[in-house]
């Protein structure tokens, strides 16, 4: 092989080139990947931060009443039969008693209750302890009447996994299933 013999060879580039996706596709995929990582960080912050869902049962909420003070918290319990619909702060409210085992707590829930809200079906309420005794409690047969009530404004239903028509296992103040 010589360097100086003959004319310059035509420029054939036979070097293998790596196959690569179109740069636009790659950029889009990288952007998507970054968005997904951002989404994961957001979810983790929401889950681990103050917004993390946690609820006390009624017995814990009563026991920790002084600790909880007037701070908002979530509580799960079973509404007892007997509800009173009344007015409170210019809006409608539902007054009822929440129970877990033999511990009771009175509730004044502002606004409309959940669509499937029923006595015997556990609910998770968000609100705070308030000192006093609403007059609507007089209409309840099993009110706690201990000078405190839960003033709540957010209600979700915690359904069980029982789909049998007889519902034989449902206790009046049973825990959520």
């Amino acid at each position: 092989m010589t360097d100086d013999a003959g004319p310059e060879p035509p420029s054939f580039d036979l070097t293998p080139r790596p196959a690569r996706p179109a740069s636009g596709t790659r950029r889009g995929a990288l952007t998507l990947l970054l968005l997904l990582v951002g989404g994961m960080v957001f979810v983790l912050l929401r889950t681990l931060g103050d917004a993390s869902l946690f609820f006390y049962d009624v017995a814990e909420a009563v026991e920790l009443r002084s600790e909880l003070g007037d701070g908002r918290f979530r509580v799960v319990g079973t509404p007892q039969p007997g509800l009173v619909v009344t007015e409170s702060d210019g809006g409608s409210a539902v007054v009822f008693t929440l129970c877990a085992g033999d511990v009771l707590a009175d509730v004044v829930h502002q606004g409309d209750p959940a669509e499937l809200f029923q006595p015997g079906v556990p609910v998770v309420l968000q609100g705070a302890w308030t000192a006093g005794r609403p007059t609507a409690l007089d209409g309840l047969s099993n009110a706690a009447g201990d000078g405190w009530y839960l003033r709540t404004d957010h209600m979700v239903v915690k359904h069980d996994n029982d789909y049998r028509a007889d519902g034989a296992e449902l206790a009046p103040c049973g825990a959520a299933g």
């Binding site: 420029s11 869902l53 959940a114 359904h159 007889d166």
Partner: protein, 274 residues
């Protein structure tokens, strides 16, 4: 997985077409069972005597629960195939891992959407930030969406396969958290405990739930089969395109031009000849 009697121009085989037809027929039967033959969830409270339950919203059970279980199955298959990618290093495992991950991600998205739609009438909320079952499922979706995005970012196919396999094996660790969250963190989720473990269902409701597993199982089997064939064809198409390009390049270039390109002179060619 593939039949040998494909019609020209389709990815179908006699077996997969039959599977698709049976899946479609099963969907029709499931629709009849779920909407017309089974009743609403109406129970009588043992002490108050009042009606309670989920009423007709319970018909989401036959959609949401089988899709959730098949989502787990798809992601577990993806993890198993990813082990195959790392150990065996053959395309079959990678195509299988990619296919099951994609089908699983579609199912996971639908599980989140149907769960949200079911939650609105039954729980009174579309979504609860911080609910451990919802959050772990969302993380699972994001992880596998990331897996699919990652596969499009890397240029080296072998590196892509291995990176994706590692991501899948990490992502699948979230599945026990999703599945057990309702038992481990009962006061951190609105979600009910496992329907399948406790099976507090009877008669036609139970039969319909089992039938929904069969139906969606057939649908997911068909989808995975088709996605596998598409994945396999994508590889074959690339291999064929590369082979054709090399052959074309060779045919475009004469022997003299090739010699000149690499600096071989006519004299050298003559000397080398016998």
């Amino acid at each position: 997985m593939a039949g040998r009697d494909e019609r020209p121009g389709t990815t179908g085989s006699r077996g997969s077409r039959l599977l698709g037809c049976v899946a479609l027929a099963s969907l029709v039967v499931l629709g009849v069972l779920a909407f017309f033959l089974t009743g609403p969830d109406v129970r009588i409270h043992p002490t108050t005597g009042e009606e309670f339950g989920q009423f007709d919203a319970v018909r989401m059970l036959y959609l949401h629960v089988p899709m959730a279980v098949l989502m787990y199955a798809s992601f577990m298959l993806c993890a198993a195939a990813s082990v195959g990618v790392l150990v065996k290093r053959t395309p079959w495992w990678d195509v299988m891992a990619h296919s099951t991950a994609e089908v699983g991600t579609v199912l996971c998205g639908l599980v989140l959407v149907t769960g949200s739609i079911w939650g609105r009438p039954v729980w009174n909320t579309w979504w609860e930030w911080g609910d451990v079952r919802l959050m772990t499922t969302l993380v699972l979706f994001l992880l596998f969406a990331g897996y699919l995005a990652l596969r499009r970012t890397t240029t080296d196919p072998r590196r892509q396969e291995r990176q994706a396999a590692v991501v899948a094996l990490v992502a699948v660790l979230d599945i026990p958290l999703v599945n057990r969250s309702v038992a481990w963190w009962e006061n951190r989720t609105l979600h009910q405990r496992s329907t399948l473990e406790e099976l507090k269902i009877e008669d036609l409701t139970l039969f319909t739930l089992m039938f929904s597993f069969l139906t969606f199982g057939l649908v997911v089997w068909w989808l995975t089969l088709q996605r596998f064939r598409v994945g396999w064809l994508e590889r074959a198409a690339i291999d064929h395109a590369v082979g054709s390009a090399i052959a074309d390049r060779r045919s475009e270039t004469s022997a003299d031009e090739l010699d000149a390109a690499i600096g071989v002179t006519d004299e050298q060619v003559g000397e080398a000849s016998p």
